[in-house]
Point group: C2
Chain length 182, copies 2
Amino acid sequence: MRYCADCGAPVELRTPQDDHRERYVCTSCDTIHYQNPKIIVGAIPEWEDGRILLCLRAIEPRHGLWTLPAGFMENGETTAEGAARETLEEANARVAIHELFGLYNLPYINQVQMLFRATLLDLDFSPGVESLDVKLFKEEEIPWEQLAFRPVRYALESYFADRKAGEFKLHSGDLEPPVRKG
Amino acid sequence: MRYCADCGAPVELRTPQDDHRERYVCTSCDTIHYQNPKIIVGAIPEWEDGRILLCLRAIEPRHGLWTLPAGFMENGETTAEGAARETLEEANARVAIHELFGLYNLPYINQVQMLFRATLLDLDFSPGVESLDVKLFKEEEIPWEQLAFRPVRYALESYFADRKAGEFKLHSGDLEPPVRKG
């Protein structure tokens, strides 16, 4: 951020009165421009035979890897509405969203990811513009080595474990920056 | 938003290619300025005798009403770290944060509120700059008619009910805009 979104004047980084952190503050109109974490909402869509819907990513990051349908929550919607919208956009799939299942903090990229249990309502799905393919996977068919994001892996591992145990619980995790292989 | 935060040129509202919504897009550098919901994180701090810590608000909105310690989640922290930080800032109180207890959507103001169960670690608390008073309340002492926000009420109601039942569960709710009296 270099300019004030309200008046167009330059901003500077400084700590406002009664605040503990540096913020972008306008040098002309004094507006404080706060920056806060963003929410990723997504679904774990299960079909009636127990298979889970995954999407093959057509976009970066992680083009060509499998993921649960998920994306940035939008203004004006609830977390569950966002999870259903993302599933419709990425997989042209209709779901009933149930309770929050996975809550993952990624503080190094200022994200909170929220993945919800969901029931896939019909088999009339197909790839959205951000997907190359959309498929149902049995637990033993999950492409564990080709998953796009760690929260997807953690949520699926917890999901199958809870399903075997007969009770779904909320799972949380705080993620460190990934170690990049060289 | 009227000006591009990156280059200072005017922005216009339009729907970018492959998008479904109007966004603020820079008329000069084409940067898309997304706007997304913000997260409020807070704690339900319980002392060892079962009393709950509440703060009397010294600031608007709802000056002079009681609330759980809570506020905007900051970049670079986890949801639990944010809930602990807000408790320290508003009540000078140290807590151990436990699992997520209340998840409330307020889509009409683009907020998601997340309230966590917490253990108050000592009695050395005092009002922070945003609080007029900080006190411990037994269930029968809770000032139900002087609570600042509906999620605080809903979370406390669910908390006491779950505590009686002997099991804490995650509670969720989607709030409509409040009906203003008068």
